[in-house]
């Protein structure tokens, strides 16, 4: 038992500090990707409902591709494709050296695109759930299109979309484990390294699973609180 506790200790002999650093990278990646993916998703959703055919088709193509591709493949395409693209650009401006794409950035972009594609479906559903009368009333009061979106539609949108977006967040959290394959030192990669060095796969993968589980639980609690908070203006239905 103390053997396993030693394995998890902080310091040169244990893996506790390495795993904790990895967990921080995982959280940082997920937290930074979230606003990017959600905003892009909202834009795509507005594009899907746009009167402009071009915008509509582009939005549909975007969601079809990024919902259909395996997340791992999207990540590799962004990582290796980005490298290739930068290399070409660099040689055009006469910079001959090897260009390396930052794996955190590649993970951020790839996971953000996937999150945008999935969250756009949630946003579209929520946009449809808001009665048109709300928009018309806002316009009748003299609010500009932009103001009526920001002051009238958006606050209601967040409440309706929250459960769906919460699911998107939980999926994103788990998908961050894929960046371990492009050498980003997240929780999964640090676990792989610990396993390689100690030959204790059962123990360390179980620990990693428990850490992810803990993050999921925390998120579940936070989402429950957020949902209660965003709907506090709603009259409770009589039971």
């Amino acid at each position: 038992m103390s053997y396993y506790l030693d394995l998890l200790s902080f310091g040169p002999d244990g893996w506790g500090d390495e795993l904790a650093q990895g967990a921080l990278v995982t959280i940082a990646l997920a937290v930074l990707t979230l606003p990017f993916g959600l905003m892009l998703g909202l834009l795509v959703a507005l594009g899907q409902r746009s009167a402009n055919r071009l915008a509509r088709n582009a939005a549909i193509a975007f969601t079809t591709v990024f919902r259909g591709l395996p997340e791992l493949l999207t990540l590799f395409i962004v990582y290796y494709g980005g490298q290739l693209l930068l290399q070409k650009l660099a040689s055009v401006v006469g910079y001959g050296a090897q260009v390396q794409v930052n794996s955190f950035l590649a993970g951020f972009v790839a996971l953000g695109l996937v999150l945008a594609a999935f969250s756009s479906e949630v946003w579209v559903g929520a946009l449809n759930a808001i009665p048109n009368g709300q928009r018309e009333a806002a316009r009748a009061l003299g609010l500009s299109a932009r103001l009526s979106f920001r002051l009238v539609v958006l606050p209601q949108l967040v409440r309706v979309a929250l459960p769906g977006l919460g699911n998107n967040w939980l999926v994103l959290l788990k998908d961050t484990s894929l960046v371990s394959t492009i050498a980003l030192a997240d929780l999964m990669r640090q676990t792989n390294i610990a396993v390689g060095s100690t030959k204790e796969p059962l123990f360390f993968y179980l620990v990693a699973c428990l850490v992810y589980l803990f993050f999921s639980m925390l998120s579940g609690g936070a989402l429950g609180w957020l949902e209660a908070r965003t709907s506090r203006g709603q009259a409770r239905r009589p039971a």
Binding site: T64, V65, G68, L69, P70, E71, L72, L73, F76, I77, Y80, G81, L84, L170, K174, D175, T176, S177, L178, S180, T181, M188, T191, N192, V195, K199, E200, P201, L202, Y205, L206, A208, C209, Y212, L213, S216, M217
Partner: protein, 236 residues
């Protein structure tokens, strides 16, 4: 014409790796198909345990579902595949080592357990959506409990579950790409092999096209099946 094609697609590369890609498609479809069906069978008792009045099976089923839905599939695959190696002596003692040393078996096992957890939740929702009157009517007709479940409740629950089950199948196809990380040559595995030998980026784009075709094909097939299975519910 072939010049234009040749400038877009590396035909030599296609000739060399094309057949392998087709094998990869078969591996992906087999892995997903078998684990989806086995997972579906396992999902029924798990869903029933989740709905049980007895708190012991309910808690067990809840923990099972929570673990498999709350952790990354990648971690689960590594846990089973590399963890099995650590338990080699135990598996050899019971004669299961030939199974667990095989990456394919480990992937199949993990995927089955994983999708069973998701499918159990879908099924649970479907079962709860069947009105209680259906059960009472079956009881009034003198049907035993297991027959009521098999002939009255489950078929109606499956109709509700059909659409989310289709989504789960598609998610499985996409998630299956990670088995390439434990030496299995599915579509993604073949792609990684071809890229590591040729360093030609376009193999990743071929893989993208293949996955999009797979996912879209399955989505359409599922939609046809769904229309056919629910045709008695449509107004004439």
């Amino acid at each position: 014409m072939s010049d234009i094609l040749g400038s877009l697609i590396n035909l030599d590369l296609m000739a060399r790796y094309g057949p392998r890609f087709l094998d990869g498609v078969l591996v992906t479809l087999q892995l997903v198909g078998i684990s989806f069906i086995l997972g579906g069978l396992l999902a029924v008792p798990v869903a029933l345990a989740r709905l049980s009045k007895n708190s012991v099976p309910r808690a067990l089923a809840y923990s099972y579902v929570y673990f498999f839905r709350g952790t990354p599939l990648l971690a689960q695959v590594f846990l089973v595949y590399y963890g099995a190696g650590q338990l080699r002596d135990a598996f050899e003692a019971v004669g299961l080592w030939t199974l667990f040393r095989d990456a394919w078996f480990c992937a199949l096992l993990t995927f089955t357990l994983n999708t069973a957890a998701y499918q159990a939740e879908i099924l649970r929702g479907g079962i709860r959506a069947v009105p209680g009157g259906q059960r009472e009517a079956a009881f009034a007709l003198g049907l035993p409990r297991w027959l009521t479940f098999g002939k009255v409740v489950l078929p109606q629950a499956l109709v509700t579950a059909l659409r989310p089950l289709g989504n789960e199948l598609i998610l499985m196809i996409k998630a299956s790409a990670i088995v390439s990380l434990i030496t299995i040559y599915d579509v993604m595995g073949v792609t990684r092999l071809a890229f590591s030998r040729s360093f030609d980026f376009q193999v990743y784009l071929w893989a993208a096209a293949l996955y999009l075709i797979l996912v879209e094909g399955v989505r359409r097939l599922w939609a046809v099946a769904e229309r056919r299975l629910t045709r008695h519910l449509k107004p004439a």
